[in-house]
């Protein structure tokens, strides 16, 4: 039995429950003429019955599916010969993976060993049983819920209030998803990061200057001891972000000033959406642009000047990242500039100031906190940007301030450490989570400060 069939069955059951509840309310009220005796409209009695039928049933089904795979895995292992149950955890995982591959048809059954084939057969039998059992249980719960409500339907039952209470509760739960997400991020990143800090001391990680995360596979291997000093990554991230801000802030700010204060309506109507097109371009496109167009261009240009530019230079990545951030800065600055009250400008003009003097000495100082907040948000985006640096910035962890050399960033290292197969107990994989923690904390602080500034600024002129 497919899960989708069971869900559809539950929904059908809910619809039937709705009709029955509605009919029951009319019956207890004494037919359509007795409707005025009911506390709520008949539909609400139907809804209440349907909700108490479908919601618990879906809940039971979800809980069942959350548990059953583990139970099946345990049962299959305990049936396997050779004491599979006593294997260490990682070998058990591999064994289960083999069985699962056979079950899902990723590996032809004929290629697997007889023990695994038998286990896969057992797995399929148990899985089928469990699906049927879960489905039947869910439907029974649904029926039970519907019957209980159906029997309690009476003219005095405050069906509307109960339905609305459930609706409001669900709305609240939906808005709690944001909190749950944050908690999920913190737990998942923090848990793995703490495991990492148990292997590598946190001070070595934060203040070490050598980064080479390759671990020795064999004990006697030479040259890959594994060093997790993240300082080169931090400086690389900051260098690229700095280059990006050097491009994005002046261009974004001046184009916002021009479009908000000087340009006539037609120019604004054309130029503003054109610049904002840059915001809609996926970052992977920028990465491609940086790696295949800007990088070689800079290299060729450097050669004519006699400079050696690395083919994956910090400059190329920073430049393109700056282009990406221009619309972000310009639209935020535009908002802040247009929020400055016209009366301030009129006052400056009345004193004989020119337009640029008004902008420089009145409008910009008034808008400055808002713009600063916007720039901080832009910095946080630059730090967290991934695809451009993955494709254009390279992997060599150089501790340098020279923008013509290759550097690597926090996000690049997270991607390279985690793409491909991972073992969740090697420091190499866990290091990615430690870097993620640093990234999350850094951007969180920037965001909170920036949002606070922007909010206080908005309130000032409202």
């Amino acid at each position: 039995m497919q899960t989708s069939t069971i869900v559809i069955a539950i929904l059908v059951l809910g619809t039937i429950a709705y009709r029955l509840g509605r009919r029951r309310s009319l019956a207890v009220a004494g037919g359509p003429r007795g409707i005025k005796n009911l506390h709520s409209l008949p539909g609400y009695y139907g809804l209440l019955t349907a909700i108490w039928c479908a919601l618990p049933a879906l809940g039971v089904l979800g809980a069942w599916h959350f548990v059953d795979q583990r139970v099946i895995a345990d049962a299959v292992l305990s049936h396997m010969p050779g004491g599979a149950q006593q294997l260490p955890a990682d070998q058990k995982g591999l064994l289960l993976n083999d069985i699962r591959n056979v079950v899902q048809g990723n590996v032809a059954a004929s290629n697997a060993s007889p023990a695994i084939q038998a286990a896969a057969g057992e797995w399929q039998r148990l899985d089928g049983l469990s699906r049927i059992a879960g489905g039947v249980l869910a439907l029974c719960v649904g029926l039970l819920g519907a019957t209980l409500v159906w029997r309690r339907i009476a003219p005095g039952l405050r069906a509307r209030n109960r339905v609305e209470w459930i609706v409001e509760l669900n709305l609240l739960l939906c808005s709690m998803v944001a909190i749950l997400t944050t908690i999920g991020i913190v737990i998942s990143v923090l848990y793995e990061a703490l495991q990492f800090f148990r292997m590598v001391p946190i001070t070595d990680f934060l203040f070490g200057t050598k980064w080479s995360p390759q671990m020795a596979i064999r004990a006697d291997q030479v040259g890959s001891s594994g060093a997790f000093g993240a300082v080169p990554l931090f400086t690389g991230t900051l260098l690229i972000s700095l280059i990006a801000m050097v491009i994005a802030v002046p261009v974004g700010l001046f184009s916002a000033i021009y479009l908000a204060e000087y340009a006539d309506r037609r120019v604004r109507a054309v130029a503003k959406p054109l610049i904002e097109l840059l915001a809609g371009v996926p970052t992977v496109v920028y990465g491609f642009f940086a790696a295949l167009t800007i990088g070689p261009m800079l290299r060729a240009f450097g050669l004519t000047l006699g400079l050696s530019v690395a083919s994956e230079s910090a400059l190329a990545a920073g430049l393109v990242m700056g282009i990406m951030i221009i619309p972000f800065v310009s639209s935020l600055a535009d908002d802040m500039i247009t929020a400055v009250p016209q009366s301030l400008r009129d006052g400056a003009y009345a004193l004989g100031a020119t337009r640029s003097e008004t902008i420089r000495q009145v409008v910009l100082p008034a808008a400055l906190p808002g713009i600063a907040g916007g720039v901080l948000l832009a910095v946080s985006r630059a730090i967290g940007e991934t695809m451009i640096v993955v494709m254009a910035a390279g992997l060599s962890a150089n501790l340098t301030a020279n923008p013509l050399q290759a550097v690597t960033t926090v996000t690049v290292q997270i991607v390279t450490l985690l793409v491909g197969d991972q073992e969740f107990n090697s420091p190499k994989t866990l290091a990615a989570f430690a870097l993620g923690l640093v990234l999350f904390v850094a951007t969180l602080i920037l965001n909170i400060v920036a949002l606070q500034i922007v909010r206080r600024y908005r309130e000032q002129y409202e």
């Binding site: 610049i275 496109v285 221009i326 420089r360």
Partner: protein, 433 residues
């Protein structure tokens, strides 16, 4: 009588007049900075799109070579059974090789023959097999068939190989160029519309690679994202705008939403990897997990735009409904929500467009694998369009450059359509009170 004041007035006027030239110059300079900034922005837009289109438009046509293939019965069906199984497993590559040998009888040396066979893509075998399966009467006959050319030939025909370069610096040698030129002179080389690019899955051979699988993966992922993020986002927005009391919890929720909107997307990838794959044991590379991660990522956007749409509904509507005796839930579901739906849909489309272009978190959950098959369901391994772009961009073959740009053009076209739909919705249904 007031000569001192007059004198002072004159001097002030003079002072102002003396500074005016400088001040006007500063004014013009400032204005020029602004204009330069806008121009730089627009030049960047133009340059970005121009390079992508200039590199990518050739991906929509592909080179084919016409060969006279003899469907010899000894090769296809030596036993003469004509059973489907025999026809499916026959050695069609041998047919292509035979017709190439026939076309260039002077080539006899083993290494040269290998180069000669390299003119035609291995997809040609599938073409022949499909033709024979569709019409077994072809066996024993001769036919001129257009077969997909290998990527090096394609690059040569598209003029992306510099013939002036010394031979060892090209990935195609003089002899092969000679063969291609001879075929061209006989009108046996042709560029045709590249249907495979839109329908096919990924491939190690550039000439066979297509974005069909990635489009299907993106579609499946977005379906999950939309189904989850739109209802949850709207519900959260309704709660925060219409029901939430002013208290600690509400503040906490709001702070969280605003912060999540600015958390780097790769952190959501870490969450997906640790939670959904490690803890809940969901399959790697699956659109289901991708959709879940993108849901969490787009949720703040959808909540924020939906709240703006709800705020735009005037309070008089609510007051009228409440005044008629509607409950607060009835007011919202019967009156406020229907009026806010267009604005919410616009927000949802913009959120989906962001999700479609996102790739960093999907790298974390394994949607970066090399997948040839077109994904069939929410749990089968898949990749998405932007990740396909990333994968091709890091492939060394030269022919993948145009494929990458072509895939980017497809991606941008989808984004353009979605944003145009959002703009249309907004202008069509936006109401001003």
């Amino acid at each position: 009588m007031s000569s001192p004041t007059a004198a002072r007035a004159r001097t002030t006027q003079q002072k102002v007049a003396a500074g005016l030239v400088r001040r006007y110059r500063a004014e013009r300079r400032f204005r020029a900075y602004g204009m330069a900034a806008v121009t730089i922005g627009i030049v960047f837009v133009g340059f970005l799109f121009w390079t992508i289109i200039a590199k990518g438009y050739t991906a929509f046509a592909q080179t084919f070579v016409a060969l006279d293939v003899e469907y010899s019965a000894e090769v296809i069906d030596p036993a003469g059974t004509r059973s489907r199984e025999d026809l499916e497993t026959a050695d069609y590559a041998a047919l292509i090789k035979a017709s190439l040998r026939q076309k260039f009888p002077e080539v006899t040396e083993h290494s040269e023959l290998r180069k000669l066979y390299g003119l035609v893509s291995s997809a040609g075998e599938v073409t022949l097999r499909d033709r024979v399966l569709a019409n077994p009467k072809l066996i024993g006959q001769r036919e001129r068939v257009w077969l997909l050319a290998k990527d090096q030939v394609d690059m040569l025909v598209k003029g992306q190989v510099d013939r002036a370069l010394p031979e060892e610096q090209r990935n195609i040698d003089n002899q092969t160029i000679g063969w291609v030129d001879r075929l061209r002179a006989e009108h046996r080389v042709e560029k045709q519309f590249n249907r495979r690019f839109f329908t096919g899955g990924d491939s190690r051979d550039p000439e066979q690679a297509g974005v069909g699988g990635a489009i299907a993966g993106s579609f499946l992922t977005l379906v999950i994202t939309l189904l989850l993020s739109f209802p949850i986002g709207v519900a959260a927005a309704v709660y925060l705008e219409e029901f939430a009391p002013q208290n600690r919890l509400t503040d906490l929720i709001e702070v969280n939403i605003n912060n999540l909107a600015a958390v780097p997307s790769i952190v959501f990838g870490l969450l997906g990897l640790a939670m959904f794959i490690q803890f809940f044991g969901l399959p790697r590379s699956a659109p289901l997990v991708g959709g879940l991660v993108l849901t969490l990522m787009t949720l703040p956007t959808i909540i924020i735009t939906s709240r703006a749409a709800l705020k735009a509904v005037p309070p008089s509507i609510r007051e009228a409904a409440l005044g008629m005796g509607a409950s607060s839930v009835q007011t919202v579901t019967h009156h406020v929500l229907p009026m806010a739906v267009p604005g919410m849909l616009t927000g949802a489309i913009i959120g989906m467009a962001r999700a479609l272009g996102e790739s960093a978190p999907l790298l974390m959950i394994g949607m970066v694998a090399f997948i040839v098959d077109i994904p069939q369901g929410f749990t089968s391994a898949a990749t998405v369009l932007p990740v396909q772009v990333y994968l091709w961009a890091s492939s060394p073959e030269r022919a993948f450059v145009e494929r990458t740009s072509g895939a980017i053009m497809v991606l941008l076209a989808f984004l353009l359509v979605m944003n145009a739909a959002a703009v249309f919705l907004r202008s069509r249904f936006e109401r001003r009170w």
